[in-house]
């Protein structure tokens, strides 16, 4: 049975939600929480989201969407344009490329995979920023961010999986 126009539009709107959700994460990242030392431990929420969708539904957050999200993050966050775009594209690229190691695996394995890719992403940000500014940048705060992002992965990923099952109506 062919889907009607209404059904098609409905599915399209649902399929756009991963992009919209990730955009919301970019904005949430910017909300001043007024917590001591928050600036030094702020989790990299967009890396979690890009990783998640690349593992489970890569076609719902394609490279062009990943690029736009990274660019917006650079613009709003005040980092040189292209840094986060490159890092998020790398995360997406590595996950899609190595998908057989992650797709359909248990949560523990996927989390471990996330830890490795996040470490690579942190290293990439550090290298890009150091080269851009022509000096070795202090990596202390970045290591804190690595740990908080790793900690934020399970709850955020759980929420996104719930979203996938209820809103996207797949699986």
């Amino acid at each position: 049975m062919k889907p009607t126009l209404g059904q098609k539009l409905d599915q399209l709107a649902r399929n756009l939600t991963p992009f919209a959700l990730t955009l919301i994460l970019v904005v949430l990242d910017l909300v001043p929480l007024h917590l001591p030392s928050m600036a030094r431990v702020a989790p990299m929420l967009t890396v979690v989201a890009v990783f998640h969708w690349a593992v489970y539904r890569p076609y719902l957050l394609p490279p062009s969407a990943v690029f736009l999200i990274g660019l917006l993050q650079d613009i709003l966050g005040g980092t040189p344009l292209g840094v986060h775009a490159l890092v998020l594209l790398s995360v997406h690229g590595i996950v899609v490329w190595q998908n057989r190691f992650l797709a359909g695996k248990s949560f523990g394995i996927v989390w471990l995979g996330f830890a490795l890719i996040l470490a690579a992403a942190c290293l990439e940000v550090w290298v890009l920023m150091s080269v851009f500014h022509g000096t070795l940048i202090d990596a202390d705060a970045l290591s804190h961010q690595f740990l908080t992002t790793l900690g934020f992965y399970p709850p955020l990923s759980w929420l996104l999986i719930r979203w996938q099952q209820t809103i996207l109506r797949v699986d």
């Binding site: 966050g77 292209g82 000096t135 202090d138 970045l142």
Partner: protein, 292 residues
């Protein structure tokens, strides 16, 4: 996706894959190109950035409101629980301040009479524009905050951003509704300062850590921990005498300054419009962007 129809032929799959790889490679190259553009043409990039931040300013403003409100509520409850000791402290402080007021009045009168004697032309008084912090990205690399005040409110590039505690940073980008303040801890921040007691000139340089460093001190200058650091007003970039921080540690060739302003407590910020043109405003595109 559903698997009911026969899939596309192998050739189409191969072409589609190639197209996907091509798109991916193009986007990676575009990112590198943007990175180089950010390095090469900062005025253009800042202009674009200010416009996009402006577009997002109402959203950021709305989203940050409940957080601020919640924060204020917690603070109110916290204050109410220690009203008694706070009262005692304030009474004591009030007494101390009254003594200071007497001293200040005497000095003011003396100052006025001395100025009369010298035909002194007073420095232009600063007009302050207040803005609320609506964006603080945090993270290891972005030491800047977004304010909900822009060129419409009179904010200009290069102006000093202060709170009651001291210097926050300098306005780096201005949009119509919003502006970005580069904090003194940012890697790109350089502030001409003075050691308050000895009047030794130095540059306070941020390095993305919590404590910026004092650099370019004259040979043989003595700085010890506990010294107060204030802006010097040299280079016309910032008004003189704004408190910046206190020397926290002096080790071999490394003097760290603990800023008076806590980044996480920034809610409202004053942008001081002193009428100084500043070194940044000499950038023609910057002032054009601000005037529009």
């Amino acid at each position: 996706m559903v698997g009911q129809r026969p899939g596309p032929g192998p050739r189409i799959v191969a072409i589609r894959q190639m197209a996907q790889r091509f798109t991916y490679a193009t986007l990676v190259l575009a990112s590198f190109a943007l990175l180089m553009l950010s390095k090469a043409d900062t005025a253009l990039v800042d202009g674009v950035r200010a416009k996009v931040v402006d577009a997002f300013a109402p959203i950021l403003d709305a989203v940050s409101r409940p957080v601020t409100a919640g924060q204020e509520m917690v603070a109110t409850v916290h204050e109410m629980t220690r009203l008694h000791e706070e009262n005692a402290r304030l009474r004591e402080e009030n007494e101390r301040l009254l003594r200071w007021q007497t001293a200040a009045r005497a000095l003011e009168a003396e100052n006025a009479s001395l100025r009369d004697l010298l035909d002194y032309v007073p420095a232009p008084t600063a007009r302050a524009i207040s803005g609320r912090v609506i964006g603080d990205h945090g993270g290891a690399f972005a030491h800047s905050v977004i304010l909900n005040a822009g060129s419409r409110d009179g904010v200009r590039k290069g102006q000093a951003a202060v709170t009651g505690d001291g210097l926050v940073g300098r306005v780096a980008e201005v949009g119509r509704l919003s502006s970005r303040v580069l904090l003194i801890t940012d890697l790109n921040s350089r502030v001409p300062v003075l050691v308050e007691t000895t009047r030794t000139r130095a540059i306070l340089a941020g390095d993305n850590r919590e404590r910026p460093r004092l650099m370019r001190l004259p040979n043989g200058a003595a700085v010890s921990s506990g010294d107060r650091i204030v802006t010097s007003g040299h280079a016309g970039a910032l008004p003189p005498g704004i408190p910046v921080g206190i020397v926290a540690s002096v080790t071999e060739g490394l003097i760290e300054v603990q800023p008076f302003v806590d980044r996480h407590r920034l809610e409202y910020v004053l942008v001081a419009d002193t009428g100084l043109t500043g070194i940044l405003a000499s950038d023609p595109s910057a002032s054009d962007g601000a005037d529009q």
